[in-house]
Symmetry: C2
Subunit: 435 residues, 2 copies
């Protein structure tokens, strides 16, 4: 590795999306940096929605629909009372009022699921409950409050028009209607509609299965007690939760030793496994002597970008092996989170047919202190909200300080164009907590 | 049932939270209405956080922490390199620069998990990778870019201060630190921190188990094909999904026939079942002859409110049986969703130790058309966003038209004070989709 110039970032004349970024101390030998946009467009061009599967209705909430749901029958499929009252022929109430009630003959009851078996003729009425089928012959309902009963005599004190308080056939959904379209993330109420249509199974996009290959000689299994110079794997529990949040299914392999032959075999096995939709390699993603992953991707497939003008996730890479997306995420936990938020989540959501947009709620807040960035580099800055509800950058340079992301309420993305964001500027804070 | 006055809503002199609401055609015999606030405060006073359980770290994402996590050890628990480079004694670099390099003797390597076994003395340096333990004696790291190697000779071209590029012991978390507090909804990165601390099991609030008792003679199992006058249960799949979204576990019982003895037994069984934390009775919640639930709650426990000044969920009730909360939700599906959004979700989230706040993102939009409400009544109005990004009320009176909630992007809550909201007013739209 050679000493690098200490001048400011220089744009590569041949590819303006690549910049030299010699001032970033996380540089560690990257001779050029890819822009965040370049990596995003590489993901866009190489990550595609996966196939679909059938799930039971009760399991479909939050899944992405992959069929057009056409109503086979109408909802409701019979006319029904919209109120508790009396089903009758509207014409029989002509001129009725409080001072001039009309008297009808009460001939029976209609209850939900237990319709009145006969027919309503002029001068007749049937007691009816909300949701019960309208008896044959009746065309309106008088609410219970506007009538009185004496034995089998009904006194109606209001005049109703045909159709009054009747839920018509198909008023909710008509047979043949397109009810839900592919790409829809199913809501709780969608399950209600699907159930009403008699849909028991739904075709949804599969949940992308993402292999997480965690590398590092120093790593113990997640949740183990730390020992002398070994530390528990922090990133696979975090990445697994993030992948699940974004609709994927994580599959953790490792921790793996920093051994090039072993890592190569693990990557090839995941590439060959048809149940794996993407491979995330965590750790060994930089340019040091133990950073085997980038060369392996180059050897086994195509490394489309390696080294990103992004702090604190410079040592990020993205490539493809026989069509399968491979993301290299830095081992430092904050860098790992940053690389997931900017790239990993996009891959998982795109595979699963979801919006590429980050799932964090965004609020706009004034900045309580300046953020120093560098032109040409995107910064992922953890902030907390001050007592005055301003965004306070959490001052730390350490990519390994994961507690900054537990103390922070969220983060601000400083765009590549900015080299400094002044106090008082209104910034968008991406909130870690959904609510 | 007697005819009711047709004058405007009147406040009950003895309880201003109750109003007579004779003009609401959904009244169906409610002689008085409880305000939404009254029901909310009844929930507040009668629903409490349930107990806790231990879960594995990997299952803890999104769960509510119920312990104070104190760091048993520091993170990191050894000093480590923050960059790839050379560990040395800072004092040895005094005066070093590009034009005046200092020469040191390279005596070995320190790798993550494989520390250098010896000690660094003056004039010596050890190659070191990011995250590797600092060798005994060394107090700074010179980045690889600012040095050159020839055999075992190292040329250092910069001067560093003690501690430079060293991750100090406890820089992330110090032993004894309070890392996470009870009530925290665990983030992906929290799992990372917990893993680093060697935490394998976490104490979290149990997921409240909510019994859903679906009643109605006309109901078939969810997802069945509709038959002559029978309809599939739409509400239990919807309620189950809503309860899961809010961190609970649904348990569906039914559909049950409108049979008072059967319903009474089912309710008592759920009250006696210690694994059930709350009971939601769906359907039969109004004042008609088949509406058995309110009287049963009154008989078995206390019915704190029945009949709410809320459209379209007037026939809602809330009570307690031997300390267990019981919510009566209307059978009409939009009413059911409305009653869940305003009350059911609050119960589930409070039981589970979560914020009572509705989990829907809120955006502010101009109203594209007026909303007619009634003073004293809260309205839950489904809206869609117009091409101009204005909130357009979806015009329908039907509480049974569930498709309005699938077409809508969200809803507007019209407060009790308002009787009309004019076009152009800025309203808060609660979005059904989280993103």
């Amino acid at each position: 590795m050679t000493a690098r110039s200490l001048s400011g970032p220089m744009f590569d004349m041949h590819d303006p999306t690549r910049t030299h970024d010699p001032e970033d101390p996380r540089g560690r030998g990257f001779r050029r940096r890819f822009s965040v946009e370049f990596v995003r467009s590489a993901i866009d061009g190489n990550v595609f929605r996966i196939g679909s599967e059938q799930v039971r209705l009760g399991e479909s909430h939050g899944r992405v629909l992959d069929e057009t749901v056409i109503a086979k029958a109408s909802v409701p499929h019979f006319a029904r009372a919209a109120m508790d009252g009396f089903a009758l022929i509207a014409k029989d109430t002509d001129g009725a009022g409080v001072s001039a009630p009309v008297r009808l003959h009460l001939i029976g009851q209609s209850r939900p699921g237990r319709p009145f078996p006969g027919q309503v003729l002029h001068g007749q009425a049937v007691g009816i409950a909300t949701g019960a089928p309208m008896p044959v012959g009746a065309d309106a309902v008088v609410p219970v409050e506007q009538a009185g009963i004496e034995g089998d005599a009904l006194e109606v004190r209001t005049c109703v028009a045909p159709g009054r308080h009747v839920g018509a056939v198909a008023e909710d959904v008509a047979a043949g209607d397109e009810v839900l379209r592919p790409g829809r993330c199913l809501r709780p109420q969608d399950l209600g509609i699907l159930s009403a249509l008699g849909v028991d199974c739904v075709t949804v996009v599969r949940q992308p299965r993402v292999a997480i290959l965690v590398t590092g000689d120093e790593l113990l299994n997640a949740g183990s007690s730390p020992s002398e110079f070994a530390i528990p794997d922090m990133n696979s529990p975090m990445l697994s939760a993030l992948i699940r949040r974004d609709g994927g299914t994580p599959a953790v392999f490792g921790p793996l030793a920093d051994d090039v032959a072993r890592l190569s075999r693990e990557i090839r096995d995941r590439v060959d496994d048809p149940t794996i939709d993407a491979i995330f390699v965590n750790g060994g993603s930089s340019t040091g002597p133990e950073d085997h992953a980038p060369a392996l991707i180059r050897e086994l497939g195509t490394l489309l970008a390696h080294g990103v003008a992004l702090r604190p996730a410079g040592p990020t890479g993205f490539g493809v092996i026989t069509g399968k997306p491979v993301l290299l995420l830095p081992g430092n936990p904050v860098s790992c989170l940053c690389a997931y938020d900017l790239f990993g989540g996009v891959i998982v959501r795109k595979l699963g047919g979801r919006s590429a947009k980050m799932p964090y709620p965004v609020v706009r807040r004034r900045l309580a202190a300046p953020i120093v960035s560098a032109s040409g580099r995107v910064d992922y800055v953890r902030v907390r909200l001050s007592i005055d509800d301003e965004a306070e950058p959490i001052a730390t340079s350490g990519a390994s300080i994961l507690s900054t992301t537990t103390m922070a309420c969220g983060f601000v993305i400083v765009p590549a164009e900015a080299d400094r964001v002044e106090t008082g500027t209104t910034v968008e804070v991406h909130l870690y907590d959904a609510h």
